[in-house]
């Protein structure tokens, strides 16, 4: 079997943002993530690909400790962000999640106004001193989410009234409003039509300037289009990790090859 430990360090990455060592995840007795080692670069888009049920989402959710909310879930090993262990006792997951934003598979705006959707995070983290500052954050976030022009005239309309693609960009804007450093996206385009998908992909490419983006996708074309690094998961193992171009043109592991050529998955 491929030596994943070596894989992770193999990657020539000057500034590592997230580093995972010997991560194991169990759901009760199910061993969902098996000894994963990976270094995720800063200011880059990293894609997780792999067949359904291979543990992509599970691993992604380890990075902002969303798995804490699942009773039966147990995480072992080390995950460090900027060299700090996020599973350390001193870490408050709430604070961590402000630093590691997340966008979910299904667009899930709050059933509140567009403005309140964006303003919620900054409000609870005390990022704005007054209304003017909050307005500014809302505008900036909506611009980053590439949705400002579409909603600037109806900031107080409900966020749930937008189209699916708009809702997802709103959710991205909501995630960036708390000024995170890492942005996790779990199949953000799977509920969107091709046009909305293209818009979101374009947005992800722009977000790379400011954030470390980790995106789970079941679409290999999408991974190829938006990411610089790709990690291929299979049955809970991280099979192969490397530059996206290399993974897609010259995979080293035969399982990766079978997957990208459509033989497994």
């Amino acid at each position: 079997m491929y030596d994943t430990e070596k894989l992770g360090t193999d990657v020539n990455q000057n500034d590592t943002k997230i580093s995972a060592r010997n991560v194991q995840v169990y759901y009760g007795d199910t061993h969902a993530i098996k000894d994963v080692n990976v270094d995720i670069g800063s200011k880059a888009v990293t894609a997780f690909i792999g067949p359904s049920g291979c543990g992509k989402s599970t691993f992604l959710r380890c990075i902002n400790r969303m798995n804490d909310t699942i009773d039966v879930c147990r995480v072992e090993g080390d995950i460090k962000i900027d060299g700090e262990d996020i599973y350390d006792k001193r870490v408050d997951p709430v604070q961590l999640r402000a630093k590691v934003g997340m966008v979910f598979q299904k667009p899930n705006p709050f059933p509140k106004s567009i403005y309140d959707n964006i303003a919620y995070g900054p409000r609870i983290h005390g990022l704005a001193k007054n209304k003017a500052e909050l307005d500014e954050i809302v505008e900036k976030s909506l611009r980053r989410g590439a949705i400002w022009n579409e909603v600037k005239d109806r900031l107080h309309a409900p966020g749930t009234g937008l189209s699916g693609g708009q809702q997802q960009r709103l959710c991205i804007a909501r995630a960036v409003a708390t000024e995170p450093e890492v942005l996790l996206m779990d199949e953000p385009c799977s509920a969107l039509d091709p046009i909305a998908t293209a818009q979101v992909e374009e947005l992800i490419d722009e977000l790379r300037d400011q954030f470390s983006v980790v995106i789970v996708t079941h679409s290999m074309q999408q991974a190829a289009r938006v990411s610089q690094k790709t990690a291929f998961f299979h049955l809970g193992n991280l099979v192969e990790y490397g530059d996206t171009s290399q993974i897609f043109t010259n995979p080293k592991d035969e399982r990766t090859e079978s997957y990208i050529t459509g033989r497994i998955g």
């Binding site: 902002n64 969303m66 909310t69 009773d71 709430v94 604070q95 961590l96 999640r97 402000a98 934003g101 997340m102 966008v103 979910f104 299904k106 899930n108 705006p109 709050f110 059933p111 919620y120 995070g121 609870i124 983290h125 409900p158 749930t160 959710c171 909501r174 995630a175 409003a177 708390t178």
Partner: protein, 451 residues
């Protein structure tokens, strides 16, 4: 052409013609039709029962809202009411209601004479059976409130006695008078004679809605108002205890508690509690609140506590159901932007669940409002609440009754006039329940889930 079609005509097609219905389909259709007929019949039966019930309630109960009154000018004789003539309020108060009765009877007799009614009842004492026993107290109160009335002739509107009222409502029949020692046929002749001039008149009686209960012999005076206040105080206790406790318990169980054997056990027990007969809560209340904690008997506070115990499971179950109905993606969204568990619950989940919680609470309150059995055991039945409470503390602590208990009490009394009042009380209780349930439906409609 015919030749060509011959081979086909001989072979019967495997799957029959679509134009004729096969036996199997016919049977299925018949079964479906039968089922629909059963359904319609069931609903029709329900509606018929409902109509019969409503008809019975209205015909029996509407009478309670109308009462017969006798309006006569009463001469407030100074010689009887203030012998010393110096209008000293203490002296005036010394005259009991017995002192007033002759004046009232005289006034009624005068009205009878004025109307020119031929009657063997020529003594003022004979008029006693016509007027409610409450009349004397009414005049006395007026005099005490304003002693200047003494010596004048003042127009009063008295309640007629319940027999007179019953006669005008068709409840008291002349044929049965032989067995009734409260009234004679001659009295009824007088009533008939006084009707045209408007001295005896049936009109709307607000005292039934706002007044207090009365003794067995004064059915015409009894009202449901004071027990309504008793019910109101009980509902306040239930609302202020059951809502916060129920909602807090539900939020904890639904959002925070680990899923283990203990929480499973609690869950099962909550469902069981919802099915416990209310009288069990009544005896529990008697043992704990009255015998152990020495809270006053018949007090709305105790009633409210007992009903709180009874309503809690209902509120917890409906609150948990509405919390469960909030999609988990909302919780994820809140946690994802760094909200704490509690913030996610209070900022996002609870507002979305609120209409459901409110609906459940109102329905729980409506249930509690109509509950009678537990009140039997803590002494809220059979108590004659004669005065409305003076304040909140008194309202909670001093003995009172409650609407359903009052209705039960009236239904128990021998005088048929009370039977009518029991039905009237039911109308009022039903109006409360229907309004509460309508409010619940409206709230649910108004805040229909929007996500």
């Amino acid at each position: 052409m015919t030749d060509a079609s011959l081979p086909n005509a001989g072979a019967t097609p495997k799957s029959g013609s679509l134009h004729e219905i096969d036996a199997r389909t016919k049977k299925r259709n018949a079964a479906e039709k039968r089922f629909r007929v059963y359904g319609v019949a069931a609903i029709a039966t329900g509606i018929i029962f409902l109509i019969v019930l409503l008809f019975a309630i209205l015909t029996n109960g509407l009478g309670a809202f109308h009462q017969t009154f006798i309006s006569v000018p009463v001469y407030l004789d100074e010689a009887k009411l203030d012998k010393k003539g110096n209008r000293n309020i203490d002296d005036i108060k010394k005259v009991s209601t017995f002192g007033y009765n002759p004046l009232i009877q005289k006034a009624v007799l005068k009205a009878v004479e004025d109307a020119g009614i031929e009657t063997p009842l020529t003594k003022s004492k004979n008029m006693k059976a016509l007027v409610s026993a409450s009349a004397a107290a009414q005049v006395r109160q007026a005099v005490i409130d304003n002693p200047a009335l003494i010596g004048q002739t003042v127009e009063f509107r008295f309640l007629a006695s319940s027999r007179v009222d019953g006669y005008l409502k068709g409840r008291v029949h002349r044929e049965h008078l032989a067995r009734d020692k409260n009234i004679d046929a001659e009295h009824l002749d007088i009533v008939d004679g006084l009707l045209p001039s408007g001295v005896v008149k049936k009109s709307f009686n607000p005292a039934f809605i706002f007044g207090a209960d009365a003794s067995e012999s004064r059915a015409e005076q009894a009202g449901i108002g004071v027990s309504m206040i008793g019910s109101l105080f009980m509902m306040l206790v239930v609302l202020f205890l059951a809502l916060p406790i129920g909602v807090a318990a539900s939020i904890y169980l639904e959002e925070f508690a680990p899923k283990n054997r203990w929480t499973d056990l609690i869950e099962v027990n909550i469902s069981n509690l919802a099915a416990v007969p209310s009288i069990v809560f009544g005896i529990l209340g008697l043992a704990v609140f009255i015998q152990f904690m020495h809270l006053p008997q018949s007090a709305p506070l105790v009633g409210g506590l007992v009903l709180t115990l009874m309503t809690l499971p209902t509120i917890i179950i409906s609150t948990r159901a509405s919390l469960k109905a909030v999609p988990p993606s909302i919780r994820d969204a809140a946690l994802g932007v760094g909200a704490s568990k509690m913030q996610s619950v209070f900022h996002h989940v609870l507002p979305l669940a609120a209409p459901g919680i409110l609906t459940g609470t109102i329905i729980g309150l409506a249930q509690a409002l109509g509950e009678t059995a537990p009140l039997l055991l803590i002494g809220m039945v059979g108590y004659i609440a004669s005065n409305p409470p003076g304040g909140v503390v008194e309202g909670l602590m001093s003995p009172n009754s409650a609407m359903p208990a009052q209705i039960y009490e009236w239904a128990k009394r021998a005088d048929p006039a009370y039977y009518e009042r029991a039905w009237g009380g039911i109308i009022i209780l039903l109006i409360f329940l229907i309004s509460m349930n309508t409010l619940a439906v409206l709230l649910r409609r108004r805040f229909e889930r929007r996500w």
